[in-house]
Symmetry: C2
Subunit: 645 residues, 2 copies
């Protein structure tokens, strides 16, 4: 019996699909068999680490297309597995055949009743108690004189809800087919899909010029970050930094005595990946910092970079983990023409790879012990996929709540492969998608191509490595516009600190920041004039109070008559929360046009008028299928309109 | 190392894809790995029944998308299997790294040269003869003084074609990944895809009213059928017909002494599925008939219907093969409200199913022994899919040239499932697709949805059961129009005899023929006035001399400004044969409009003019991107235009 086109399923079941704890997992499939008999099908599911399956009956949602559906609840933050079982329902087949005969005028169904009695008798033999009473009584009624001449009476006797339930429960599944392979579902916690991230360097959280910021300083900044409405504070590495070949400002090879070096050059005599740089504070300070973040309702994400400085203890303890030049020196990291003289990459193909893998897991477990449940993983695409699968599955077996964000800016297939092997979220190409058609094409791919089953985007507006031209040239209006896009197109998004101050000075002709924080300590006035902190707070509040903002795939682009105005709808499945967002993609000019709202998109009848409320300005408008919008980037770059019922 | 999105592959490799003997099977896949090393990949293929794989190197057709391709020849009418193997090419990785260094201005590559020497040395150890000489000489040149200061010279030394070939051949595939599962390809003979079929009842091939036609009469008709350009003559069952409950004319229960009965009620005292009805002739007559067809370049297709009359010897010999009513009588076939009192269906779920299966195979082998290589299978969707898989694979193991046509007019998933388990071709919904949008939607599904990998349509214009309303009402112009559609939209198509005479009398209010040949012997004047035999001959000649007509997936619908004019392009991949077909779907009225030919579709530059020749009328026209057409159904219902170069 064919069971085909089962969803959700990623690459024929090779990888798990991702869902969120608390949701129902909807399972669909094509199920059919030869002939005209009635089929039954159930979804069977279990927690992957348990043995007993639960069952939910599938219903045929389109009989002509043999298409079936059921759903099961994801009640735990865990990995589930499911399959489908289908079989022939002899009793129902018999009733349908009888019904067809009655409809086409057959008068004498004595022979059919005799066949039915045989089917019921077989099931009755397996029954007990009240089930048995029910079937015994049914059989004696069917045996009554003259029954064979009353087709409709026979059908009525055989079609009660109670009988259907008993028959479904007791029937043998003689010809049952079970779908193979079993398909896995990861039920992540809600923050895996919906969250606003704030990236910062602890050392730049100080207040006195020339003095390095500490974890205590950073702790004092948490209220400010919370005030903007963020959920996650992600820290650039906080470990001791190597001295050998330490980089000076702007990636210079010469380094002064007070230059702090790149925090990705991990490890010196004070320790490696499991240590806190003494200039930032102690492990105890870190614990206090985490506690304070948690108290404020935020979580801390740590950077996880599998590489080290030449001064890391691994270099002595695990010499085989490194690439050797022919002269036996260790090779530093390179991506010609870029050279990272302060960093040794790790050779994953070394014979001592088991110890290497275990050490990485230990690092994660160490920080999990210190309250961290989120890791932003640096350059995962340069390490083997099989390693990530092993590492993430291993951590999730004990700590299913851990979130892994993949920082893979590489070719699309590899980015997707990392998501398939287990990364919870991924960085994206969002920063380089600026025009209307680029955005529509990319978001359609992310939300409707099938990759939404396993790949969750996290739209960062900027990173310490990426200050795009539109931000460099578009100034404050561009910062607001790109924030609205990131925060409303993707349920997870983030900014790198300084964005709220509209910092946009680049190293000439590049996308790198001038005087990058990667090599210098910065001290900023976080309330500097021109900041967009209130705007960010408002957008984050809108995200939080509108469930439509908290999902990825509920995005529909709608027509607008201006290539500079992107117009889209985000809505909940029950349409209780419908948002219409219009964004002026041009930070330099006022743009206006008509935007179109196909009534069916928002559940209205043709000609209906409706009220929309701009959640950024509180203004209300009466809208219909076609509406005029005008967006002045100097005022607000966008409307975020809620349809009021 | 991920190897993903491998094509061709049907349902994750559960079923074989179908190709044609003599073609190359193009294999594509996404292949990538972490880091920057160079990959190599090969397709490995073999005949399914052989052990040794052959290899063809894959090339990366889009490096940014990690997309690879290769092809292998299908030189035999056989089942093939293939997989993909990929590994890291250390030598090429080293050369690319060197090239990147040279490009970015690195002067001293001594250390890189030393690394390269180690890689080459490892490969040289496995080499012999001239390979060894080549590598030894390369190494000594690389060791020359000052080489480390001449990056370009090193690169030049390492990039000859000869060296590339040797390296590819000798390198160890230490980290090779092999795709699993192996994927199967069926290479059918060309007739499996391209052929024109003619269906007839032998008994209606006589010339004297009241006298049953014989195989000898039918043999005399073959030249006429050949004259119309057909490739396959498909016969309704030729076996002895039961007497019990034999049907009279128009499916009446009463039957006169001279009524021949339905040929699908197979079996009487003269034999069953392996016998020829004595009134048609002998097995020897059948052999002569087959020989004559073959001599004319045609093949015979037999009907294969797994059912029988109450008088078939199976009823006595295999009583367990049948459905029993509670009173132990055998149940005749029914599809309420239809009753087939003259036919017993077979119960495939009987305990003696092995003997049943074997007997069916023996029937096919019997007729194969008598020169038959094509079977049109009656109602396969009422029998188990697993049975068909077993039967067809079993026959193909010995006779790969056998073609199975599935007569399953049922729900789409089951029709597709039958094709997946092995049927070579299938009947379709073509007869019920009449409007422009119905045809475009259906053909797009058949040619571009993925089902073209395993499902080959055979477009019958009519059958003994199907005389559609458009033929009933549209008369001769409709017969010509529907013939052009069938013959040019699908490489395999067929007519049921009488079509060439435009027979269109239906039983009132149905799609059934009046006085259906299923229950009566007919004698026709095959050259009756108003016949369209010359038209059919012309269309079949066009199909034969234009390779573009002989493929399924090379169909593109083009815009036409009239909903009654269907316009499409069929072309060969190299564009040496490009046809443009415009069909007036309205048999009752002249239709005209502008049709549009996007230049890129036919390989021309914007503004180019080109000559088209109408292969039906020999008229020539100068065309451009936009052209006027006018089609009078009383003259010709279509243009079949060839683009002349």
């Amino acid at each position: 019996m064919p069971i085909e086109a089962v969803t959700p399923s990623v690459d024929c079941g090779r990888y798990p699909a991702k869902r969120i704890l608390g949701e129902h997992c909807v399972v669909e499939a094509d199920i059919f068999r030869h002939g005209r008999d009635t089929l039954r099908a159930v979804v069977k599911w279990r927690r992957k680490d348990e043995r007993r399956f639960s069952e939910a009956p599938m219903t045929q949602i389109n009989p002509g297309l043999d298409h079936w559906r059921a759903e099961f609840p994801l009640e735990e933050n865990a990995r589930y597995t499911f399959t489908i079982e289908a079989w022939t329902d002899r009793f129902s087949s018999w009733v349908s055949d009888l019904r067809r005969r009655a409809e086409t005028g057959q008068q004498d169904v004595s022979s059919e009743v005799a066949e039915g009695l045989a089917i019921i008798q077989k099931i009755r033999r397996r029954s007990k108690g009240s089930d048995r009473d029910l079937l015994t009584s049914l059989m004696s009624r069917l045996r009554a004189d003259g029954m064979g001449q009353q087709p409709q009476a026979v059908i009525d006797l055989c079609t009660s809800d109670q009988l259907a339930e008993v028959m479904l429960r007791l029937q043998s599944r003689e010809d049952a087919t079970v779908y193979s392979p079993e398909l896995d579902i990861i039920a992540d916690r809600p923050l895996a899909r919906f969250g606003a991230w704030y990236e910062m360097f602890v050392r730049s959280q100080g207040t006195q010029p020339g003095k390095i910021g500490t974890l205590k300083d950073a702790k004092r900044r948490l209220a400010d970050i919370k005030g903007m409405g963020f959920d996650v504070v992600y820290l650039a590495p906080i470990h001791p930094i190597g001295l050998t070949n330490r980089k000076g400002p702007n990636n210079r090879l010469e380094c002064g005595p007070n230059d702090p070096g790149s925090p990705w050059a991990i490890g010196n005599d004070f320790g490696g990946h499991k240590a806190v740089d003494p200039s930032l504070g102690t492990l105890g300070d870190f614990d206090h910092f985490v506690n304070e973040a948690n108290r404020l309702g935020m979580e801390i994400a740590l950077d996880f970079a599998i590489q080290c400085s030449p001064d890391h203890h691994w270099v002595k303890e695990h010499p085989r983990w490194f690439y050797r030049r022919p002269d036996r020196t260790i090779q530093y990291a390179e991506n010609p023409p870029k050279k990272y003289e302060d960093i040794y990459p790790i050779n994953f193909e070394n014979p001592d790879w088991r110890a290497l893998w275990e050490e990485q897991k230990n690092i994660l477990l160490f920080w999990i012990d210190h309250g961290v449940r989120i890791f932003r993983v640096d350059n995962p695409h340069t390490k083997p996929l099989e390693f990530w699968r092993w590492l993430i599955e291993g951590i999730h077996a004990e700590y299913p709540e851990v979130i892994f964000l993949s920082e893979a800016f590489t070719k699309p297939k590899m980015m997707r492969a990392l998501a398939k092997v287990g990364f919870t979220q991924s960085y994206t190409y969002f920063t380089w998608r600026n025009t209307k058609w680029e955005l529509i094409e990319y978001l359609t791919k992310l939300t409707k191509s099938g990759m939404e089953e396993y790949f969750r985007p996290n739209f960062f507006t900027n990173t310490p490595d990426i200050l795009t031209r539109i931000l460099q040239e578009g100034g404050r209006p561009a910062f607001k516009m790109r924030l609205v896009l990131a925060a409303t197109l993707s349920p997870s998004y983030g900014i790198y600190s300084g964005y709220e101050l509209c910092e946009n000075e680049a190293a000439l002709g590049t996308e790198e920041y001038k005087d990058s924080e990667k090599y210098q300590v910065k001290v900023r006035d976080w309330n500097r004039e021109g900041n967009i902190k209130d705007f960010i707070a408002k957008v984050n509040a809108i995200r939080r109070s509108n469930p439509a903002m908290q999902r990825l795939t509920n995005l529909d682009f709608l027509p607008s008559d201006n290539d500079q105005i992107l117009f889209y709808c985000k809505k909940t499945e029950d349409m209780s929360n419908v948002l219409l967002v219009a964004v002026n993609l041009d930070p330099l000019h006022v743009q206006e046009c008509t935007v179109h709202v196909p009534e069916s998109t928002i559940g209205l009848r043709p000609g209906d008028k409706f009220t929309v409320k701009d959640l950024l300005t509180d203004a209300a408008y009466v809208w219909s299928a076609h509406n005029y919008v005008r967006l002045d980037p100097q005022v607000e770059p966008a409307h975020i309109l809620r349809v009021e019922r």
